[in-house]
Structures are given as C-alpha cells and as structure tokens.
Assembly symmetry: C2
Homo-oligomer: 182 residues x 2
C-alpha cells in the first residue's frame, strides 16, 4: 500500500465557541492534487472516564439526562479534565462527584481520540478496583446523576440490548475487557 | 436511586452549519430547579462502520489522514450514510470505496451514539465475513485511503499500543468481539 501523506493546514478559521468545545474551519492542501479544501474541526479539553468496580464485582454506573441525545443514558462516570488536573485526579473526582464512590486502586487503561475525523482531544480511561461508598453524590453545576450498580456479568447483555450505547463508554469497556482477559 | 427526569427543551438556536455537522445552542429547563441553562448540541447524519474479515481471518482496515486529529489513523472502513441509503448499503459502499474489498456476507451488530452529551445521531456497525478484493479503491471527493490487512489475532495488541485509538472503531470492535465470543 501507499502510506497516505499529511495534508498541510493552510488556515484555521475559528467559527464558534460552544463553551465545552470550539468549532473551526480548517483549510487544508491536498498532498496529491495541491488543491485547498475546507474541513471542520472540533477542539475540546481532554476527557476522562472510569470503569469502577466494587468488591462485589459490580460496575458503578451513572444514569443522567443527556442534551445531545435528548435521553437518559446509562454510562460509566466521566467528564472534562480541569485545567492543571491530571487524568487520574479527574477520574477519581468524577467518580466521587457523579456516584459517591471512591477509594480502592486506580490504574490507567490508555486513551483514545473520540473521533479523529472531527476531534483533536483525547479521552483517558481508568479502572478503579475495590471502590466503596464515600458519601453523597456531589454534582457540579447542571449535572444530575444517579448511581447504578451493574454486576460485571450483566455488561455484555446490556451492550447487546443497547442499554449501554455511548461509544466512548464502549471504547472504555473494550479496554477494560482486554485488561481483564485471562 | 431516583431516576433522572428529562429536561424540557425550551429553544433551539442554530449557530453554525459545518457541512458534515451542525451546531446548535439548546436552552433547556431543569426539572429540579426550573431554571433554564444553555447546552450545545451537534447534529449530523447517521454514520456507519464495518468490521470486514477475509477468508484468511484478516480484518480489512484503512489508513488515512484525519483533519480533526491532524494525523494518519488506522481504522475500519466507515462514513456518512447517504440520504435514502440503508445502513447496510452504506456499509457495503464504504467498504468497497475505501478498501476495494466486498462480497461475502453482511450482518448488523447494532448501533451506538457517538457521544450523547453532544450528538443526536447513531453509528451503525456491521460485520462482513468472507470479503475479497473486488477492484481498485474508489475514494469519493477528498478521501485518500490505503487498505491494510490486519490479522484478527493482532487486533488486541494494536489496541493496547494505541495504534487503533479511534473510539468509534473501538466501540465497533467491542461489538465484534462480543458477537464472536465462544
């Protein structure tokens, strides 16, 4: 195969600031034709999510209203990494805020790009083992989460029934299953 | 737990048309406080991707320049479903265009939301088994893809090394691994 060559970014035109992300028009030159074409890019802070497992082998999940899908979703805890915060600290914080769980151990499982066609940021995934209730849910700002304990053995069925259908959660669960395989 | 209540969408303010997606400000009323807060939503056509496996148990993957990440990625074939096109037809078309492979059988593996915090659309995933070369790669518009055959047994290592790090591809591979498990 011929390895694809990089396109040259000729101009970046900022279009819209949407608080949690920004949209830009990217004028890029084709290495093949030399012509300049417009593309669209979304920039955002890095994100984090965490597969948190209790001593009873339950995964601590979150139900919440999501404004993009206009629906209540079943997800693992996660969110935006604050400025100056490490991915690990953000994982522990989001777990605590959104579910009330914490403690135990925290290990990185790697990272991903949410969709490299559009996004430049990373989502870091962690596994927390041996988490226990630490106190009440402490949502920030407009967040309203409810915690749900899902036995690990039920994850596959929930994925197959599309009760879990958030692609970034699915990418995290793939890393979790790979890390846990015999 | 208390099930989260839906927020009421009070006003949808279109902000920006970015060709392959549109951005809107969503003014929504909290069911808890009654206050209206702004959120941001991205609308796009539905997407498709396909895990295509050769008779030699290789997965047909694609290398291409991605303008969001400003990098060359390793992905499974996929793209935007055309108006009036079924997800299955789009999967077969993208496989053929981006890799030159086709034939064999095509089965749905389910769908996901790319990120329900922001997106309203779905990405449909298919598995194609027994695919063989049908002809040359036939990229549309500005696409420049190269096909790569990855032995199925090497997928886990490529995920662990983050050579495969596109979250929508990872979500598709999770569905593929679940469908293929003994």
């Amino acid at each position: 195969m011929t390895e694809p060559a990089p396109w040259k970014l000729v101009e970046r035109e900022e279009l819209q600031d949407c608080a949690v992300f920004k949209v830009a028009r990217l004028h890029a030159r084709s290495p093949r034709s030399g012509a300049v074409h417009p593309f669209y890019g979304i920039t955002a802070e890095d994100w984090v999510n965490v597969v948190a497992v209790t001593p009873q082998d339950e995964v601590v999940m979150v139900r919440q209203w999501r404004h993009g899908s206009q629906s209540v979703t079943l997800e693992i805890p996660g969110g935006i990494i604050d400025p100056g915060e490490t991915p690990a600290a953000a994982a522990a914080r989001e777990l605590r805020e959104e579910t009330g769980y914490g403690g135990g151990t925290l290990e990185p499982l790697g990272s991903a790009n949410p969709n490299p066609a559009l996004f430049a940021n990373r989502v870091y995934t962690f596994v927390a083992r041996g988490v226990i209730p630490q106190g009440a849910i402490a949502n920030e700002s407009t967040e309203e989460t409810a915690a749900v304990l899902v036995p690990r053995a039920e994850l596959a069925a929930k994925l197959e029934r599309e009760e879990i259908d958030h692609a970034l959660v699915m990418a995290a669960l793939l890393r979790f299953f790979l890390a846990e395989r015999p």
